[in-house]
């Protein structure tokens, strides 16, 4: 039956196939156009190629020769416009021995971490009762950090560790608490008043992290 079906309509199909106008399967970000609350404007579909959906930047080891002996390499919509509007993004974490991703939040999304090399001690703090949830994660373990809560990752072993962190937003943000407090021009008196920290401590860390005021 199907054979006859095809034979009979072989010519017809050349004439009048139902054609469907473009629909929005994806919205690769065009960083040169205006940005809106939902993300970047879309690149014209005709100019989109497979390279817009592939990113090789996470294949490179992050530079961990720094204060925290760690590196975060994001593939958020600003770096990887292919995820624009799709509700997801990813980043690579490199933690040298003794490395740490300091206490931080992602204002715009939840995170799932998967350890692919080494051991990572990770944890988060809930808002309701300041409860602490932390655990040592070995290769292949995953941990979820609910949206907006303070969390951290520390190399928990004697070898470098690598992990991938996925986010429920193409642009989750990253606010490292110590940097927010000490790596800007927020006046020391305000920091002290709003954190209970001593003046000496605040000034010391401002010096270390490059803050003023």
């Amino acid at each position: 039956m199907v054979h006859i079906f095809f034979l009979f309509f072989f010519l017809l199909q050349l004439l009048s196939f139902p054609s469907h106008a473009a629909v929005q399967d994806f919205c690769v970000g065009d960083l040169s156009l205006p940005e809106g609350p939902a993300g970047y404007s879309c690149k014209k579909p005709a100019k989109v190629t497979v390279n817009d959906f592939v990113f090789s930047g996470l294949g490179v080891t992050g530079n961990t020769s720094n204060l925290i002996k760690a590196a975060v390499t994001p593939a958020f919509s600003a770096q990887f416009p292919g995820v624009n509007g799709l509700g997801i993004s990813i980043a690579r974490l490199d933690l040298a021995v003794d490395g740490v991703i300091p206490l931080h939040t992602h204002p715009g999304g939840s995170e799932v971490l998967v350890v692919v090399e080494g051991t990572i001690c990770a944890g988060f703090i809930s808002s309701s009762a300041n409860s602490v949830y932390f655990k040592s994660l070995k290769k292949g373990d995953i941990m979820v950090f609910p949206q907006g809560l303070l969390h951290f990752q520390i190399n928990g072993g004697g070898t470098p560790a690598i992990a991938f962190a996925s986010f429920s937003s193409p642009s989750p943000g990253l606010q490292i608490t110590a940097f927010a407090l000490f790596k800007n021009n927020l006046p020391s008196a305000l920091v002290e008043k709003t954190t209970f920290l001593d003046d000496a401590q605040v000034k010391k860390l401002k010096a270390v992290l490059g803050g003023t005021g």
Copy 2:
């Protein structure tokens, strides 16, 4: 014409008015039923009264006789189940002279603050460049704090201040950084490692705020 319309159908309407089954206009939270990702289960509509939509708890001055000389009185869905599922909630802030709402985030929503008494110095820190945005607000001024970002409010005058903070979620959460760090059993070594704070500072604040470890 309308007159005739009514006279003619006066009896008919008693017989066969289109009747519409219940629809979900609201979902007053029933705190005794299971909670889901979108909020509490709904109270049966037949049991809902106007009192489910009205809350008088914010008419009372909060107790500011405490460490921070301030009080936050929430009307989130846990206190005011009428907002359950509606994408909004509100809280009252009382700031005695020298009072402060310490640096904190709301993991689940943005905030608009309106000052109704006194003067409040408020600010927030962006995640991208640790930029600081702060200003002194007088009665009637409003300020918006984007979702998940660190912010604070300080009494900026010589008299008590009152404000109302509205949130884009019925359950925005409240994570006070100092409490998250020092008012729990998060080991001091972890706090130090993830914040760059000195051991003495951490132990001192743990003692003050009631933390252990």
Copy 3:
């Protein structure tokens, strides 16, 4: 330990701090750029100042010398672009003695009202059974009006009343029923046919409110 940590890396941190590309913490509306379904396009982050997040327009008493003896002063995204994309906005209500905010809806959001001066009688009507929920609110009381439902506010005392209304949208809209019916060119016959009102009544109110047809 932390001390050594800092001393050792004091120079290193100048070289290679992990730097994070801009992320979308907020999207202050640029009213000169195209608007989309999610709101206005964003002002360039570099041009954003604290003044984009602060609005003083609600500190001024609204002009109540009008038909309704009341005023609504909105701080929606069109007036206060700082809330663009953040799922929240606010408005000030002024009700002179005998003032009324006539029956209306906000097509795009739920509302929480907080009374800060005087007494307000407020209520809403559910859609499922045309149930009425109304109550007299005193200073400090809050009431929630679920999305899209008809509601009203009336000065319920002998003194002026002030309230702040927060919304679960940066642009909730405001559709006053009487204005929608009588303050435009909707033909009287259509109004009558779709509301059951008498022709005389419709023409009288069209005259009062400035409608034609």
Copy 4:
């Protein structure tokens, strides 16, 4: 190649096919379980049959022997639990000659109307400037009514009209303005105060529509 592929693994596949745990493809509403902000609880997938996804109630002509000479037959999640959680629903409109769906809103969703029989004059009123948009629709025409705005449908011809209205919510609600004003116990004085209507008009319509007070 594919042939060999199959032959070789013919036995293997009986042993160890990757099996995937249940995921939530749909959530047919179980009206006996608690309802939440996102809709009804789900019927157990094992008990779901094709009949949960099919509804024949819209194939029946609605009873138009009533005041409005019209009928709305909804297939919202309360009547058709298969749409629960899926962001869509539908209703059938029957308009006898001279029939009207009076001015109303759907608090929870936008509507697309498609006329399948007869002629319908439909329109809506915007909130910003009380602008009126209305037009006569013939068979096959569609019209969209944006969320929460007042709109109406009137039989515009000399024969019965039928239309289907789809909604962007499984439970959009339906608030008919005249019923909200006159078909309940909302005190006449409040109706008059909040709508500018005359006392006589209000009492007359309360009598017609079955309201009290």
Copy 5:
């Protein structure tokens, strides 16, 4: 009382009516402006007319003289910009005798189908257990197809059939499986490897449907 109310304020209302700035009731798509993840940019409200909300394209019988003896006529945001941003759209299906809408998905939304002429056999396949739900639908029957699942519609009678399909998105997309496999340049070897189909079958259908490789 209301009479006096009006007489007294007759002049006043000319002076100082509360006026409300434009708010976003709708966002008719302007296809010439940048598109974003949430849809097209909005046409200026002042240029919007009722014709932006009405579409007559679905009143025309689709051309079914083709391979599938069927036609899908969409009124998605690309064809009917009035639905842009409103979470809904619609399409017309025409199925000649023996016509079929081949197995397909809508990546971006759920669908409700209503049969308005003839008989349609429709079904979908769940992802969790590959369960099949299908049924013969007569005039007036509706069926819902949950988001993203494979489904089909076949003319189940001896006369042409017509249906309207509504979607929970203004741009739901349409991916016909056979066209995705055979009507493009996806190499035959890849098709075979990822579908288990025989080489001969793949090449035959590529020839019929116009694919290469």
Copy 6:
């Protein structure tokens, strides 16, 4: 100043710290309670431990001794209830030499794939023009697959490959096209009619994959 601040209020803080009622930081799924459209009901916060947020199931190599020489090990909300309600989940892919994840969709979410071992050839097909986007991915490369679109992954090298796939939903679903067509009781005639496949091909694959009818 801060020192005096603390000394002075040392006793006070024991008395009257502002305490905040529980808020919903997370909603670990309780699979024994009713499920709703937004996910599983929440486990009581008091019973939640760190183990609810950690999952070790992805650390184990999937069994690839099967027809497709591949395995998908999901950590969706059904397997890893910690992600319930958080808009994210993850799965592990194991591809033996010649292994393939056949053409499939995730009805409920977008996917980001990161290759952690070996080489994977991956691609997807757009709905608008049946365009194909595919590329060979080496270790560290990521690729995004927009929501609901057909895609596949094939081992592209001579060694086993491993990847992690993150999803923008805690329960994205997985619909493998060949299984949906041939591994159930969908009648062969319907498969043929809706896919253009030959009867012999359909019956052969039904036999191989365990389908009937």
